[in-house]
Every structure is written in structure tokens, then in C-alpha cells.
Symmetry: C2
Subunit: 194 residues, 2 copies
């Protein structure tokens, strides 16, 4: 999982994308959006902390207990979940630097399994996928993604599929990835890509 530790927990390497509206990562944008939802009394959706296995802690004082040895864990669930309009909402967010497709190996099998369960138990599960080269951020229902993944042998999904099946999330300054617009469509019984 190349790049995994870098994408987490606030010590991310910034990519130098000169034409990005602000050069912010997808994670930064989603965090800003979730804060907007929280501050404006819309939804309570959070990024989960990065899972780490703590091996050694220096307890000189309780208040400043210092972790001196720890390792990144493979996540057993997705990064984001919460509650909106009475619904359980759960998603994973991924950036791809490919111009043509999203490599399926960037989603961990544990996360696929978890999202399958979310759907089964009545939650709303989806992916947010950004094609960095185009500054395009798509919302795709997990059901559509899962169906596509299982119906092909290729190890990637082309950008065209996201254009067809996904919802292109418009950029807004206060809510850079305003994904709840697409969730509204699901709750209200519509298609996300209309």
C-alpha cells in the first residue's frame, strides 16, 4: 500500500498541483466540508482517527504521555462515517493520479467488505473518487461500484464509468466537496447522476 501512511493523520505530503483551486488534498477538502456540515447544523460526519498499534508509551506525566513507538494498522473500516437525516452514512475517499482510470487496489478488501455490510444493514455507502489531473471529484454509490467491480476482470475502472454512473461534485468554497447533495438524492429516491 504505497503512500498509505502519507495520506493519513495530518502529516500528509502536499502535492504541487498548480491548477488546483487551492492545492488542497481530497482529505483536506472533505474535512472542511464536514466542518461546514457540523457548524451549520446539517450533519455529524467525521473522519475516523488513523488506526495505529501503540507499542511503547513514556508516562513521565499523565498529561503529556508520549507515544514513542507505534505502527500504522491496515484499516478495518472506511475513513468516514456519521449521521444525516436519520441515516447512517459511510464512505471511503480516494485520489487517483491516473488520467484514465482508478486502480482498484487503492481500496482495501476490508473496506469493500465493510461497505457491503453497511448497505446490508440499511446505511448509505458510497465512494468519493478524485481524478487529480482534472480536479474532478465523483460521488459513486457503493452498490454501483461493487456491481461494476464484480462484473469485470480488469483491475481498474475507467474515468468514463465515473462520468456515466457518478455524480460530479461541484466545488463550493465553504463546502469544497458537497457530497450530501448526492446523499439527498438517494434518500429522496432518485438517481445520483441525474
Amino acid at each position: 500500500m504505497i503512500g498509505y501512511p502519507n495520506r493519513k493523520g495530518g502529516f500528509e505530503e502536499k502535492h504541487d498541483i498548480s491548477y488546483a483551486h487551492r492545492g488542497m488534498s481530497l482529505e483536506d477538502d472533505i474535512n472542511a466540508t464536514n466542518k461546514h456540515y457540523l457548524d451549520n447544523d446539517i450533519a455529524a460526519i467525521y473522519k475516523k482517527p488513523t488506526p495505529v498499534t501503540i507499542v511503547s508509551v513514556d508516562y513521565k506525566s499523565r498529561e503529556t504521555a508520549r507515544i514513542t513507538e507505534a505502527y500504522f494498522q491496515v484499516p478495518s473500516t472506511t475513513d468516514y462515517n456519521g449521521v444525516y437525516r436519520g441515516k447512517y452514512v459511510d464512505f471511503e475517499a480516494k485520489e487517483t493520479h491516473s488520467r484514465t482510470s482508478m486502480n482498484l487496489n487503492i481500496i482495501h478488501p476490508h473496506q469493500i467488505k465493510h461497505l457491503e455490510r453497511v448497505v446490508k444493514y440499511g446505511g448509505i455507502a458510497f465512494l468519493i473518487v478524485r481524478f487529480v489531473a482534472y480536479e474532478e471529484t465523483y460521488f459513486v454509490r457503493f452498490e454501483d461500484f461493487s456491481f461494476k467491480m464484480r462484473s469485470q476482470t480488469a483491475k481498474s475502472i475507467k474515468r468514463e464509468w465515473f462520468q456515466e454512473k457518478g455524480y460530479l461534485i461541484p466545488y463550493r468554497y465553504n463546502a469544497p466537496v458537497d457530497y450530501l447533495k448526492a446523499v439527498d438524492r438517494i434518500i429522496d429516491g432518485g438517481n445520483v447522476n441525474e
Copy 2:
């Protein structure tokens, strides 16, 4: 927050309670219960990872990136959430070693605020409180807890209140803290303590 780092992240000090059925902590019991729910296709409810601020990482190799300096954060949400019967479920679990009452300072104000939001957005919010001295584990709806907390000036809530308003969660070997029984009552429109 005395004891906070010890209660998290798998490096907990075990308490020596000779008459506990197994000497397991509440966290261990809830994790076992959640695993039971997962394995038996009942619900997907997880403990969130312990939030840490990572300061320094040794990247000698990607696979074994080693965190060499990190600190515990004050949690902004609760420890547990997930999905069950189409509902968003969110709770905090606390042990008290007092024989008479639960001290309110063991629940962080951020967590209270978070649980208020959960209720507002249509989720199911509750606390699981264990009186270790009696091996009693109570389920209390957050609404009841919040009302009680705000209607008094005392900084603790007596065990009698939990006996009256709470649901005493029975011990089961495979699901040591089978709290979804109480959630069923809420979803089905009943009172938890009947």
C-alpha cells in the same frame, strides 16, 4: 483526565477484580460483543481508533513506517458507532469504580455535544456505564442522561438512577454486553427499562 491513555488502544492495565466473571474490562466486553454482532451478521458497530497526533515517523521502509513521537488527543466524538437495522447507533462506554455514583467528569463535554447532535440528526445515542464493584452494566438513553445531568447541580449521578432509568444489560458468554437488546426496544418504540 486520569487514566485516559490507559483505557485506550490495547495497552490497558488490567484490573484485578476477583469476582468479575472473567476479569475483562468493559472495553474488552464491548469489543467481543461487537465482534459477535459482526460475525453473526447482526450489525456493523466498531470502536474508533484512539485519536493521536503524530509528530514524527521513521520512514526507513514504507511497510514498516514507525511512529516515533505521538500524543494522545482529546476525543472529539465518542468511542463507538455503526449501523443496525437501518439506524445510526452511537455511544460512549464508561466504567466507574465508585460504589454509589458515576462522576460526570468522566464524560468529556465534546462527547456530550456530539451525542446531542446524534439525537438531533435522528441517530440512536446512549451510554453504557459499568459499576465495576457490582459487575453491573447499564444501558441509558442519552436523552435521559442529558435531562438528568441538566436538571441537577450535583457532579455525579447515583447508582439508583441507573437502576431506575437504565436497562441492566445481562451477561451472555458470546455477547458479554448485549446492548442491542435495548436498542431494539428503542427502535420498536418501547422503553429500555421495562
